[in-house]
Amino acid sequence: MTAEGAMTMQSSGKKNKWRWRFAALLIAGMATGAGLGFAIGKLIKHAHPATQASGADVTALSLAAFYIGSAVLFLWIASNRMRLARILEGNAAETPASDDEVRSCVYQAVVMALAGVLLALPIFAARLFSHNSQQRELSFAGIALLFAVQTVYNVRLWRVSDEFIRSAMATTAALTFAVGQGGLFLWAAAEHMSLVKPVSAWDLLLDMMLLYIFAGALVSVRTARRE
């Protein structure tokens, strides 16, 4: 048996354990996010019976809860360098995570947390300040500012990433665009021919975010660790 074979056999069981643990945490996070978003949507509906919490808003709140939950998970992972190293390399990891690896994990957490906040804010602002346009404008300015901060962190994340991570990001974006523009074209054509109801920009954004998550998951699975 080669040194390589022995090394792989010894570590593969432990690596799988860590991978399963991470996958279980992620699935639990998604389920909790969906449940929490649905509960918040119901709460809004209960607090403001006059304003219906639309399906899009419930979806947005579910996504927001998922993003914020994932951000907490990523921060917890980044808080221990050996824990992060094990997530990245499996239990065979001997060297703790480098500064760049920690930075990348923290930036991802910040981007996800801000994405969650940005998805939830317009829903709450629209309902809380429904009769005050000045407060709505002020809220929008706050949202635009947060979006600028998120963009800065997205750029930082890109800069701290290596060629492989950048390639995964670019593939995810390309896949989202390819499928998204196809779907958008078909919907727009059908809408123009009065075959389907018009959709709002908010609905389109949420569809794109969902598509982006699925594209990201698909790219991750295709490039996932394999011994």
Binding site: L88, F164, R225
Partner: protein
């Protein structure tokens, strides 16, 4: 030849070279200045490194790029022979 519709992928000896030196993926990633995920993806031939990274690997292992990487068509021709 690669399957129809699939991009040609490089074959490489990275995992063997790393194991010979008893380096972990983390150690190699630090020596090359890339992520552990990148090392894993190259070893499992899911990602072809850039020319710049290939040269860094060649310098690190004191080999030529051709000694580490081989185009899939050459590898499959070798198998047939």
């Amino acid at each position: 030849m690669p399957e129809k519709g699939k991009l040609p992928q490089m074959k490489n000896k990275l995992r063997v070279l790393r194991a010979e030196r008893q380096w972990s993926q983390g150690e190699l990633s630090q020596r090359l200045g890339v992520s552990r995920q990148a090392i894993n993806a190259i070893e499992t031939e899911k990602h072809d490194p850039s020319l710049d990274l290939a040269f860094k690997m060649a310098a690190l292992f004191e080999m030529t790029i051709e000694q580490i990487f081989e185009p899939e068509r050459n590898a499959s021709q070798g198998e047939k022979q």
